[in-house]
């Protein structure tokens, strides 16, 4: 590219030669910017070999700038194709809508906070009404057992419960080992190693067993619910169901949430047993507490209420996970991004909600003295 600018006379003469493409446009605009908009400009393009839209854009921008200053740009020696390209670019030149950017004032910030609060409240309300829908359909299923999908329930029980047993069992076993190990190394300082059994029993039976199981199930199952229901929603299968007189809540939500309610307590029990097993093994290896002694201390030192406290929470957590997963699935729109976004948001929401609920339960049980 070769640019000659003769500014001495009026009009200013601009001679362009060679290729004028996107690769040269940065250099070109830098040179063109040096032309003052105080005199008309005549551009000679007869020496141009090639020009693309980028080059044409540079010339058209120059012309706009000159015309705004009351001057003009005359183009000579352009081939027909160049003329037509310049015209296309002129016609297409975007007119930036000069929409004033709103500055962030205190007011807009408060507004944003308010919106977030309202959205959260609406989300909670939506979850609660979803729960109501589930209860209503469950009641209907009791009155009209023929509408209930037993096969689906069994299928989901297998998916949600049976297939989760290995991962839940392994995790609890390892947690039991870690707890026993950490507990014993602290308690040994007071010669109170044997209380490791109480530590294990209370922490696993009351809290960790069911909480960790719920977190794993939330990750596994809430995402699966959202993905399954969301992809049906995306392909309009849910709408098709409605037009065929099938109730998505009865067909999709009830079996899934019910399966969770049935299976989560069982998974919790598996987790309790495996956690104690892992802890007992560690206590035996590390502290020499024999299995017989472990069992004796366990039975003597642990009130059955600890198991009850743990187990009572299970159905509540199951409902939370199921509702969050199904609700997120119904929020999926017709594009794949929203499916991915809702799936991960379902997992995060479900885990968060389970932990919050667990905290609420702790306060509750402390108040009633259990």
């Amino acid at each position: 590219m070769d640019i000659d600018i003769t500014t001495s006379g009026s009009p200013v003469r601009l001679v362009l030669r060679g290729a004028l493409t996107i690769a040269q446009v940065s250099g070109l605009t830098r040179r063109l910017d040096t032309i003052d908009a105080t005199a008309p400009v005549v551009a000679d393009l007869s020496g141009l070999e090639r020009m693309d839209t980028a080059g044409a854009w540079a010339l058209v921008t120059l012309r706009t700038r000159l015309e705004q200053a009351g001057q003009s740009l005359e183009i000579s020696g352009a081939s027909d194709q160049l003329v037509s390209l310049l015209k296309t670019v002129t016609d297409a030149l975007p007119q930036p809508e000069t929409e004033a950017r709103h500055p962030t004032t205190l007011r807009t910030r408060i507004e944003a906070v308010g919106k977030a609060v309202v959205q959260t409240a609406q989300f909670l309300l939506a979850l609660i009404s979803f729960f109501g829908l589930f209860l209503a359909r469950l009641a209907r299923a009791v009155r009209h057992p023929s509408e209930f999908r037993l096969t689906a329930l069994v299928h989901h029980c297998e998916d949600v419960g049976l297939r989760a047993v290995p991962i839940v069992a392994l995790m609890s076993f390892l947690i039991g080992i870690v707890l026993a190990f950490q507990g014993s190394s602290q308690l040994r300082q007071f010669g109170a190693e044997v209380y490791v059994v109480n530590l294990l029993a209370i922490s696993i039976l009351r809290e960790l067993g069911i909480l960790l199981t719920s977190i794993i199930v939330a990750g596994r199952t809430a995402s699966a619910f959202t993905a399954a229901i969301g992809s049906m929603k995306m392909r309009e299968e849910i709408d098709a169901m409605r037009t065929l007189g099938l109730d998505p809540a009865m067909v999709l939500f009830v079996p899934r949430i019910l399966a969770l309610i049935l299976m989560l307590p069982i998974l919790g029990l598996v987790s309790d047993v495996m956690g104690l097993l892992g802890g007992g093994l560690m206590a035996w290896v590390d502290l020499g507490i024999s299995p017989a002694m472990f069992v004796t201390r366990l039975v003597e030192g642990t009130d059955i209420s600890h198991v009850a406290v743990g187990m009572i929470k299970a159905p509540f957590f199951a409902v939370i996970i199921g509702i969050v997963g199904c609700h997120a699935g119904m929020q999926v729109q017709s594009n794949a991004e929203s499916l991915g976004r809702m799936t991960s948001s379902a997992v995060v929401t479900a885990i968060f909600a389970v932990i919050v609920a667990d905290a609420v339960f702790s306060v509750f049980f402390a108040q009633i003295g259990m």
Binding site: I22, A23, T29, W57, T88, A92, P94
Partner: protein
């Protein structure tokens, strides 16, 4: 009317000879020849599954044929070295069926993606040029800030076209550009392709099912059937062919409607003049 490549003195932009494509034992193309001349809009038609998309993918290097030669803009694509190929890829643009926009980028950034390969291009300039391309394909200025998921199907296609045109390619490949558009949107798109190809001097390889698009935009038509390019020629030539599929395609009820509306358009155009 049949493939007679040597009959014309026009410069050839794409030359395919003896192309063979197969998936396992399923042969899609066998000994396929085709010429696309510089500056023309070639419409490729054929039944579903006859390998129109595969042919397009073969020419732009997304699919390696098991035999044959592909010459694009004078370069043999299959034997060219890496640098030549990269240069060549900057000289063509491809628009995929649903636009194939990158979903994590907004429209302007999508159009800027190919421009990033240009050394020394100032970022402000780049986004101004992207805005220009966005408006050239008929999208409103504010569409540049939108993400693909916020656009309608027709707008996504336009944005895909803007990205394909980002580097002012000489060759443009379009796969069913009007599929899934309403008739008005489809007609607008036809006009857009026609006017862009004139003002930018594009050579267009256009796969389509849409008879109106064939009438409105294409200079020449190539029919894909029986694993090869059966015939090429203008719309009038196609009406003379007596191969059963070709006859059915260009004489069926839909074809008659499209011909009638094209004739009507031509007549009103003459009256106005």
């Amino acid at each position: 009317m049949n493939q007679t490549p040597e009959n014309s003195g026009r410069e050839v932009a794409i030359r395919l000879r003896g192309i063979r494509n197969q998936f396992g034992s399923h042969v899609v193309h066998d000994d396929l020849d085709l010429d696309v001349y510089r500056g023309e809009i070639l419409g490729v038609v054929g039944g579903s599954g006859t390998g129109k998309s595969v042919l397009l993918r073969t020419i732009c290097g997304l699919q390696t044929p098991s035999a044959g030669t592909i010459e694009v803009l004078g370069t043999d694509v299959r034997t060219a070295d890496e640098d030549t190929r990269v240069d060549l890829e900057h000289r063509w643009g491809v628009m995929f069926q649903d636009g194939a926009l990158f979903s994590s980028l907004n429209v302007r950034e999508n159009v800027e993606v190919p421009m990033r390969a240009v050394a020394g291009l100032d970022p402000h300039l780049r986004s101004a040029l992207a805005d220009l391309k966005v408006s050239m394909v008929g999208l409103p200025y504010l569409a540049g800030d939108k993400f693909p998921s916020e656009l309608s199907g027709g707008m996504r296609k336009r944005a895909g076209l803007a990205r394909a045109l980002a580097l002012d390619p000489e060759l443009l490949f379009l796969d069913e550009p009007t599929a899934g558009l309403d008739p008005i949107g489809a007609a607008d798109f036809d006009t857009l392709i026609r006017s862009l190809s004139l003002s930018l001097g594009l050579t267009v390889f256009l796969v389509t099912h849409d008879l109106d698009t064939l009438h409105a935009t294409c200079d020449r038509i190539a029919v894909l059937a029986e694993k090869k390019v059966l015939v090429t020629g203008t719309m009038n030539d196609m009406l003379q062919v007596d191969h059963p599929w070709v006859h059915e395609y260009f004489h069926g009820p839909r074809a008659r409607a499209a011909t009638a509306s094209a004739d009507e358009l031509a007549q009103t155009g003459q009256k106005e003049r």
